[in-house]
């Protein structure tokens, strides 16, 4: 199993009456709700937590990209990954990912991912999301019906940029480069492992299987609701004749660990409530710009998870209901181990993106929950897929002899 500690980086200071006063946490939320001075502490606390996760033994630490979003404060995940690259030494840097249709020209992604891979000594996991409609269409103005074409073209350019040894011409519909020439190139050759965040678009299944990319379902509704979608993925794996390595797939899950089930509710209940009621308060008009999803996907009934019905329901559920329906995995280490085994075997996934910081959770609680997960839960899940223990295709291949950053002057008690 590969466990990645993931922080969405929510803004933890949304007011009590946020739902009443504002229609959406995303796209048109006023930035007056953001306070840069508090933000200084928030960013540094979150980065500290990611570094702490490495020290706890998580296989990866994860960041992602959102825009105009108060529950995801990383418009540039590569800046976060760069900060982490210098302060960590073992964990995979899971950048999940860069919305490649948004970079102009998209060779920028090939360059920045290569930089991260080189600085970190080959620890990058490269994610290529299409991006949500909120991010891609509403916040970044891409024409919905052209978003996927632009994505496909950007992907082709990036893969070629990593592969070619000479400058090449690229005559795309959206990007034209006479001198496409990627300096630097990634350490992991011909490419870092690639993860594709998906939310049910059928085209994404095939894209992952054909390219040997890991399909990553970043859901907020938990593992029980994910069954149909993940079954759809494994059906395609079968139909396309690929092997069934669990490392082809990953799942994001909200997890809360305490000493006992009761303590979990007491410690984390308010933060889970903050996440579902304030962070996921999204105006449904932004969920799916018409044209963003293909007709094939709509016909399969795979709609956005950000619809009013699904989100409103989550916010109203009690702690017990959230746990019973698997929206969150929460409780004592024993309880969490049992639920995690259900998740892993049910969805047949080898990669778990552990959402252990939730909403406005304090630093102390985040560290407690993360430590209990690492010490009491992870060891009992390590050997879930013994027959695939040697499958290295979907994970990082770092250099053996990696450079250690020299210790900064300030840390030695020297000049500030």
């Amino acid at each position: 199993m590969k466990f990645t500690w993931f922080n969405l980086m929510p803004w933890p200071h949304l007011p009590e009456d946020f739902r009443e006063q504002h229609r959406s946490v995303w796209v048109d939320i006023p930035s007056s709700l953001y306070d840069p001075k508090k933000g200084h502490e928030v960013y540094n606390t979150y980065l500290d937590q990611l570094e702490y996760a490495e020290s706890l033994g998580f296989d990866g630490i994860g960041v992602n990209e959102h825009h105009a979003n108060a529950y995801g404060l990383m418009p540039s995940p590569n800046i976060m990954a760069a900060a982490l690259a210098r302060r960590t030494s073992k964990a995979a840097l899971v950048v999940l990912g860069n919305s490649i249709a948004l970079y102009n020209p998209p060779i920028r992604v090939a360059e920045e991912f290569a930089m991260l891979d080189v600085i970190s000594g080959g620890r990058l996991v490269a994610g290529f999301p299409v991006g949500t409609s909120m991010d891609t269409n509403y916040a970044y103005g891409q024409v919905p019906a052209l978003t996927r074409d632009k994505y496909v073209e950007a992907h082709e350019l990036i893969r070629r940029a990593w592969k070619e040894d000479e400058p090449f011409h690229f005559n795309g519909r959206f990007t034209q480069l006479r001198y496409a020439n990627c300096w630097p190139k990634p350490i992991q050759s011909p490419r870092p492992p690639v993860f594709i965040p998906g939310g049910g678009s059928v085209e994404t299944y095939d894209f992952c299987i054909e390219n040997e990319y890991a399909y990553s379902y970043l859901s907020f509704t938990g593992y029980k609701r994910a069954q149909v979608l993940m079954d759809g993925f494994w059906d395609r794996v079968d139909e396309m004749g690929a092997d069934k390595s669990p490392y082809r797939a990953g799942f994001a899950q909200t997890i809360c660990v305490a000493e006992t089930d009761e303590e979990a509710k007491e410690l984390y209940g308010e933060h889970v409530n903050y996440f579902f009621n304030r962070c996921l308060h999204i105006y449904p008009g932004y969920a799916d710009a018409p044209g963003y999803r293909t007709i094939k996907t709509i016909k399969k009934g795979a709609l956005s998870q950000f619809t009013r019905a699904s989100l409103d329901t989550l916010g109203k559920l009690s702690w017990e209901e959230l746990v019973a329906d698997g929206h969150i995995i929460a409780g004592s280490p024993e309880t969490v181990v049992r639920q995690m085994k259900e998740l892993i075997t049910g969805l047949k996934v080898g990669n778990i993106f552990c959402l252990l910081h939730i909403g406005n959770m304090t630093n102390e609680k985040t560290r407690l929950s993360s430590r209990l997960f690492a010490e009491e839960v992870m060891p009992k899940l390590q050997n879930m897929w013994p027959e695939w223990a040697d499958d290295e295709r979907f994970w990082i291949h770092p250099l053996e002899d990696r450079i250690k950053p020299s210790v900064p002057i300030a840390a030695m008690g020297g000049a500030d």
């Binding site: 796209v27 269409n137 103005g141 919905p144 105006y283 449904p284 008009g285 018409p290 007709i295």
Partner: protein
Amino acid sequence: MTAHATEIRMLEIGNNRPAVEVWEAGQGSPLIFLHGAGGLMPNDRFFQALAGQFHVHAPLLPGYGDSLGEELLVDMLDATLHTGDVIDALGLDGPTLVGHSMGGMLAAELAALAPNDVGQLALIAPAGLWLDDHPVEDLFAKLPFELPELLFHDTALGEKLLAAGLDLDDPAFLADFLVIRARRLGMAGKLLFPIPDRGLSRRLHRIKAKTLILWGESDRLIKPVYGEAFATAITNSELQLVPEAGHLVTHEKPAIVVDAIAAWFNAS
């Protein structure tokens, strides 16, 4: 209103491109109607009103109805040239063009690109311009229940007209509805998203056709101030406001709109 028999046919436009669905009805001088982002409604009452005074041809843009091939139209130029090809295929020389909203934008663009090919022009609340002080509302982020108020002066009438035949609680209907909406607005988005400005303001001065600009006084989607902007930019034009009508002035006051168009064209 008397119902006019409507012939719906598929029109070949050549070059191996998919055929285009065309509605045709009425007697009198020929007129081409270009629909807005919502397409034509079942038994479209504005189409019917036009057919009362004209021989009207209404081609559906790819993405609408049985007009396929929307993937071949990537941008404004593609859609405008496609419209020109459809008019050629209809065999109408120096045609009279009437366009509503997105269709008005296409009609104005065509008249600006090929000023000698368009005879007369009526633009009803056309899209295509952007004024920073009067932003056009974001049609693409609206939910179905928000549309009557956005598009009609008389919200109750809007609810009645827009809800006809809609049952969003029926999953089978909803699935079809979502596909239809994705095709239509997916295509419309190539012309209108995120800001409905594809440079038309730089070209409007080229229009030679005598142009009537009609606007619902209560238009909340594209405010009537845009009518003044079009009237200023198009040399031989006049703006007429229709009281107590919103963006779908075509459906709120069809008789008044068609009378105004007929009077304008008869005077020229």
